[in-house]
Amino acid sequence: MARHNPLSFQINVEKFSFASEEEKRGTNLMRPNSTFFVDGLKRFVKNPVAMVSFSFIFLLLILVFIVPLFYPYSFDEVICYRYVSRPDASFNYLQPFAYAPLELEAREAGAFVFPHIFGTDANGHDYFIRVLVGARTSLIVGFFAAIIVLIIGGTIGALCGFLGGKFDLIVMRIVDVIYSLPDILIIILLSSSLAAVFDANADGPLSQLGSGFVAIFVVFALLYWVGMCRLVRGQVLNLRKQEYVMAAKAIGASTGRIIARHLIPNSMSVIIISAALQIPSAIFTESFLSYLGLGVKYPTPSLGSIASDAQSYITIAGDPKLFMFLIPAITICLIVLSLNLLGDGLRDAFDPKLQK
């Protein structure tokens, strides 16, 4: 048997074998192992602003997705047709918790009439349910716009980072051009044109959604992916240079394994947070388009379109209804505010580069 030469550089392979169960039990654990995710979650829970925003969004989601399922009025229902077969103006512009004369009669007769919590609007719809469904529309627009940006920008950015070379060069020049396009201009142009296209064939499935709705998705798909693309590309390029990726390559890990085990977990938090911050920006864009009359198509409500309709109620002589404008307006502000704060909170908790 050859004696071990103390000067040999040959590595003793036994030193790299897995620890036995007994050895593992022998190590003195001061506290249970923690992962990156658990650490981040702990930081997140300790941040009061983020938690308040999170609770607000959570409650709002429950409210807008569950309450309309069993709410006695629907968002496009004209209330007066429950009582008479012709339009009845006494059902319009009701104050909060007020009843129309016919509803009072029904109550006298012993029937239960569900109160109009926020009153009714100019067309005799129940305003509370319209605000709820409007908030739902706005949240859905924001969420899907963010998903679109994430998918398109993420895929192209990852490809650029991986492939490099000519592909990367060409795509990055296109990204540069798109980045400097005036976005408001293109949004208005596209949504006005889409509005005209939809008016021409009003029965199409997309037409029901409304031009602004589709235009926002088209614009996000065409323009706003570039920010995400740059971010993902930068992440991939940066991570590929890290030592642990080189180490993984050196011990023969496949590209798929490197992507799944090293690149995705390490870049995911930054990417998802950035996508989450797209949601308030999309909600902003939607409300802006709705205000200009390019948003969702009546009777579908969105917070922007409700607020835009309600601005005419402000100036009704003798009986101004400021609250009808303020309710959707404040709801937009609160949603955008809490989403912004939530995004900041997530960034503080999960972005490893910001940790002290």
Partner: protein, 311 residues
Amino acid sequence: MNKKLAFYLLKRLLLGVVTYLVVISVTFWVMQFVPGGPWTKERAMSDAVIQALNERYGLDQPLFIQYLRYLGRGLIFDFGVSYKYKGREVTSIIFDCFQFSLTIGAIAAILALVVGLVLGTYAATHQNKFFDRAIMVLTTASVAMPSFVISLILLYVFAVNLSLVPTSPVGVDGIGPYILPVIAESLYPTAYITRLVRSSTLDTLGQDYMRTAKAKGLAPRRILIKHGMRNSLTPVITYFGPMFASIITGSLVVEKVFQIPGIGRYFFLSIQNRDYPLIMGTTCLLALLLIVFTLLSDIAYKIVNPRVDFD
């Protein structure tokens, strides 16, 4: 000027030209796919009249020829006569409406810059004191407000209810009608600049050279202005250029709420009216301004901050 800077400028200039061409092309082709033309109005016209109008304005020619002519006109900034406002040159319409947007926008931008700088620096030097907290809360809240909400509330409170400013449109009654639009347009950039300045000043205050300046006995004001400002202003420069361009081209919403006959308003109306020359004119102006100001602020950024690579 060194070689690297010259190369960078050339590259940016080229990018600007390409962007400009892309904007013109996108505008042209998007408008082509829209059903209905400039002559679709409430009262129908006879085919002969439409034919004559198309011939007169060159709309009967093949699309590609129209496109090339369009490009040519965009490059020399001459867009011909408006379809909707008969007999008026597009450039003169744009000149007339641009002055309102420019006045309001420029004042709003400068207001935002000054107020943002003062508030941001103050907040940073008084970190975690009451005013810092208050400023942070206010700015966080105001970036979450859509501009139509801000504008309408301003209009309702100060013009309708309190009658502090006249409700008449701009152009009459002196400076009164300009006040609210200026505030409405400057609120968002003010909040944004304040936050930018605060965080970058906080960054700068922690630097070693600031401590050195303090150690050698300079007055605090002098340290802040001479040593701090130059470094903490760099992010503001990047933001200010594009912001200035977009604010002087008029906010569509603010111009709608306050009934300002500005360029944003005309751009919106021209699309509704299919007034191709006017759409073209407004688009070109908006795109050009945005490109030029972005370029200027990028160059200024590189000059102020020599550490940045020219890549």
